[in-house]
Amino acid sequence: MIEFEDVTKVYADGTEAIDGINFTVEEGTTTVLVGPSGCGKTTSMKLVNRLEEPTEGTVYVNGTDNQELDKIDLRRGIGYVIQEIGLFDHLTVGENIATVPELVGWDQSRIDDRVDELLELMDLSPEYRDQYPRELSGGQRQRIGVARALAADPDILLMDEPFGALDPITRENLQDEFLQIQDRINTTILFVTHSIDEALKMGDRIAIFDVGEVVQYDTPAEILSNPKNEFVENFIGENQTFKQLSITPVREVMDDPQAYESAESEVAPAADGGEYYSISPDSSLQVGLTRLLSIEHTTLPVVDGGEVVGFLTEDHVRSYFDSAGEP
């Protein structure tokens, strides 16, 4: 858990980076700090592992004022991923991942096991272990960066524009992969980005920054349906409803399977028609709508683990679209 309490940061040259911010990142959740450049989001993140020190206020890490913790120990307990990745080019992929475990003195066999485990988690084959970072593509390097940050099993992960330097397709893929990884690890994540789309996709909660202040701290759905002021509205940009569809899981709007027992002829064949004509309850409504438009039926079965758990119709999406459109 990370708590910011009235935190202000003024640099030595007098510029005020952040001014009295307050928010809490609950354990195991992801909070995205988003805002235009120079709004203080990166500074806020660096206050957590004390790469920056607050001028006023307190940052609590797992309930303790982080000023009372040893800087080096604190940082070793927090995963850190930066945009430039910062991989160590003179070390192999395996040695890069092993950095923090080695600093904290794990024995070699435990380190080896952990490196293997992380390569697997990142969907990288074991042969990458002995390669050097420069031999890898941007997406692979970024995966190594994330693996390295997770190496010593930190409770907290700080990610500063981790997917910023990638092409859109690689970025999209890595975001999806990371969302899956996130489900498997119980890590509190603070994620910095300038892209509202990335924030909506990755965050359980989003803190929108405007020159040194948090203007709104809410869930993605709340931010889309109730933007607090004009700045937030402008920042979200056009197509708010469509964005809302992309963050709403099918599960939330689907009907019970019983409701459609009588109208089976309308249902796209789930079992014999191939898997294409079904959708997972965790997919977004955006995916659901696209799929509905691409088939000849008006009802799509929602399938989870081989069982039909509900149905999605165009009407569901439409009524959700209508209600989301109204502020």
């Binding site: 592992n49 790469l51 800087k71 080096i72 120990d73 604190l74 940082r75 070793r76 307990g77 927090i78 850190y80 930066i82 945009q83 430039e84 990745i85 910062g86 991989l87 160590f88 080019d89 003179h90 192999t92 950095t99 923090v100 600093l103 390669q131 050097y132 970072p133 420069r134 031999e135 890898l136 593509s137 941007g138 692979q140 390295r148 940050a149 700080l158």
Partner: protein, 224 residues
């Protein structure tokens, strides 16, 4: 052209005719170069680390190094004579002073050239300042530091000829006395062997460097 070739050949003949003396002069030359270079490296590298770490000390350290380099080597050798007299020691000190700067400059440049993102990552992962230096900065700067050592060594081989003026021995004995006596085969014998020595040392250091600097293949990024 034909004159050059015949003089070179006569130089090699002179060398072969005076092999025992050649080995002695070469040994003297090598000892001067290697001893002064080792001491220069062991002073310049730590000095470079200090300079790179403390911005305030950087310019005084660099200016001392620069001044040492701007004084002509012959003058340094001559200046050593009244202070330290004749023989090995003054020659050694003069060569040491002259060898410092390339190593010092490259150490500072190398350490400062390390990408700030990399250092930021190392810091954020909880490396202490010393760990960042020994595990990250220094290994990444090593190729540049080594380039400085190679430059310095090659220059040092050339400068060491002047040691003969203050009784430091070395291949300068053949070259300088050869000039005085207009004995061209002798001059060539001394000059060519020095050139070969410089090239050999350079190659040797390059080999050591590629062993030490385990920075992986220098090939460009391979996308997969």
């Amino acid at each position: 052209m034909a004159g050059v070739i015949s003089t070179s050949l006569s130089g090699i003949r002179y060398l072969l005719d005076n092999l025992p003396e050649f080995w002695q002069l070469l040994a003297e030359h090598l000892v001067l170069v290697v001893a002064s270079e080792i001491i220069a490296i062991s002073i310049a590298v730590p000095l470079g680390v200090i300079a790179a770490r403390h911005e305030k000390l950087k310019s005084p350290i660099l200016s001392v190094g620069n001044v040492a380099q701007t004084v002509p080597p012959l003058a340094i050798i001559a200046l050593m004579f009244p202070i330290l007299g004749l023989g090995f020691l003054p020659s050694f000190v003069a060569l040491f002073i002259y060898a410092l700067l390339p190593v010092l400059v490259n150490t500072i440049t190398g350490l400062e050239s390390v990408d700030e993102g990399t250092i930021d990552a190392a810091k954020g992962m909880g490396m202490t300042q010393n760990e960042r230096l020994t595990k990250i900065r220094f290994p990444l700067a090593l190729p540049i530091i080594f380039a400085g050592i190679r430059t310095s060594t090659v220059i040092n081989v050339g400068t060491a000829y002047l040691a003969f003026f203050i009784g430091g021995g070395g291949l300068g004995a053949w070259v300088i006395s050869g000039i005085n006596l207009f004995n061209m085969p002798q001059v060539f014998a001394g000059a060519i062997s020095g050139a070969v020595l410089a090239i050999s040392l350079d190659l040797l250091l390059a080999a050591v460097e590629s062993r030490l600097g385990n920075s992986g293949p220098a090939s460009a990024q391979v996308a997969a």
